[in-house]
Symmetry: C2
Subunit: 279 residues, 2 copies
């Protein structure tokens, strides 16, 4: 496994490989969710590259960039275990050269939900991902369904910019009790963690109602809200039922494939989760 | 020579080539300036691709998109003569798929001079060029120094986004009497064309003064203005002396490499020209 800390070094190592390359872009602090992306990439590509880069431009001034968890040694051990060939682990100035001003933006899709809660977040994401794609030049890139809007935004960017790669979305990996894996889960106190189970529980309730034919958007959102609002430490940022594709919020009965998503705070920790609902 | 009208067809034809590829992006109506780019590309690359695409998003509502000159047959003949291997000549919907919303922007460098006169122009340029780069995946891309700010903007974009290619700037090609070649020159009446020679004449006067040690920015701009203002049909949009790199307008004596550039209207026809002044 080659660990590159510069663009030039990564490109040199890549040039020595043959066959297709799958990229798993991450911010490190790798967990079972990331492992599932690496395994999918290994199954579908001749070699796998993992990027580990905590991207400053996707964090707002009140976000947790400085305290975002990092563990380089552990991350590299996981990459080794998963048979990764190339790791790109650059310092910030390698990705944002002095005087860099260029941004990539997908527009409206990036300003709702997570984009509304975190202004500029998705422009940071699309800008850094376009750079990672330019460095790594993968045939396929793997993202978790956990960050559902991010996946949609990156698919849109890749399609619009005619990038020569396939964006692959992979199922959310959960703890046995239902909590979606996230690097931010380490921040949770035992009480918060217990109450955070209301997120997946609420989503499952709505999913079951959907399966039973409930389509009223407000009724579905209310099922999720009820579950979470019963937790004293939870503060809801949003619970959204939106059309897939446009992410326009549903009013009245949902008639198309929808994304049911939410963001909830426990103290300083902000968790997101979602389920896709197909008509 | 293969003429591709779709992204997929271009990629298939490209896959059959070996060695390095040089791209000459154009809006068609090819002239000697474009030929010089193709020759440079042929000299430096194993094969040459030319894109011919009049990009709607870089034209403003009052610009000349509809009347921009087009001559497909003549363009293809020139490409053949210059030994071009691949021509990409797509319809608009191939480059801007339905619902495409993604833009690439270099920020401040794109809002001065041409960007101030034509709001949104350079975002249109960087967006389409990033798409052309994604389709063609050239090792080198060739642009004329005639569009000096465009060249700087594209260099900035390519550097910032870590694109795996070299942006090559090529000297402005001029008529024997000094007029910089431009597809828009065909719009000029004989009187306008005669008076348009004041552009290059003014730039040469300032260049000579610079060589004699004149550094005062206003004095240099005034030399150019005088020459052009003596022409009754000319209406100056701007005459600028700006620092290369930032394009910050020079005040007082110029102490660094500078770009002396101008835009002048003759009736509905807008011409630009420039010279680089090195300290």
């Amino acid at each position: 496994m080659h660990v590159a800390r510069t663009v030039a070094d990564f490109r040199a190592a890549h040039a020595a490989l043959t066959g297709t390359l799958g990229l798993v872009p991450t911010m490190g602090y790798l967990h079972e969710g990331h492992r599932s992306l690496m395994r999918r990439a290994r199954a579908e590509c001749d070699a796998v590259a993992v990027s580990i880069f905590v991207n400053p431009t996707q964090f707002g001034p009140n976000d947790d960039f400085d305290r975002y968890p990092r563990d380089e040694e552990h991350d590299l051990a996981i990459c080794r275990e998963e048979g990764v060939s190339l790791v790109l682990m650059p310092p910030v100035e390698e990705i944002y050269p002095e005087g860099a001003t260029t941004t990539v933006s997908v527009g409206p899709l990036s300003t709702t939900l997570e984009g509304a809660a975190r202004p500029g977040h998705f422009d940071g994401v699309t800008t850094v991902v376009s750079k990672l794609f330019a460095i790594v030049q993968p045939e396929r890139a793997y993202f978790g369904q956990k960050d559902a809007q991010q996946l949609m935004v990156i698919r849109r960017m890749s399609r619009d910019l005619l990038l020569p790669l396939e964006v692959v979305g992979c199922p959310t990996v959960r703890e046995p009790d239902g909590l979606a894996l996230s690097s931010r889960n380490v921040y949770l106190s035992p009480e918060e963690r217990a109450q955070a189970l209301s997120l997946s529980r609420g989503l499952r309730r709505a999913e079951a109602a959907w399966a039973d034919g409930v389509r009223d958007a407000e009724a579905l959102r209310a099922l999720v809200r009820e579950e979470i609002e019963a937790q004293p430490l939870a503060r809801i940022d949003y619970v959204s039922l939106a059309e897939q594709g446009s992410l326009a919020e549903c009013a009245g009965p949902a008639t198309r494939d929808a994304l049911l998503s939410l963001a909830v705070r426990f103290g300083k920790t902000r968790l997101i989760d979602n389920v896709l609902l197909a008509v």
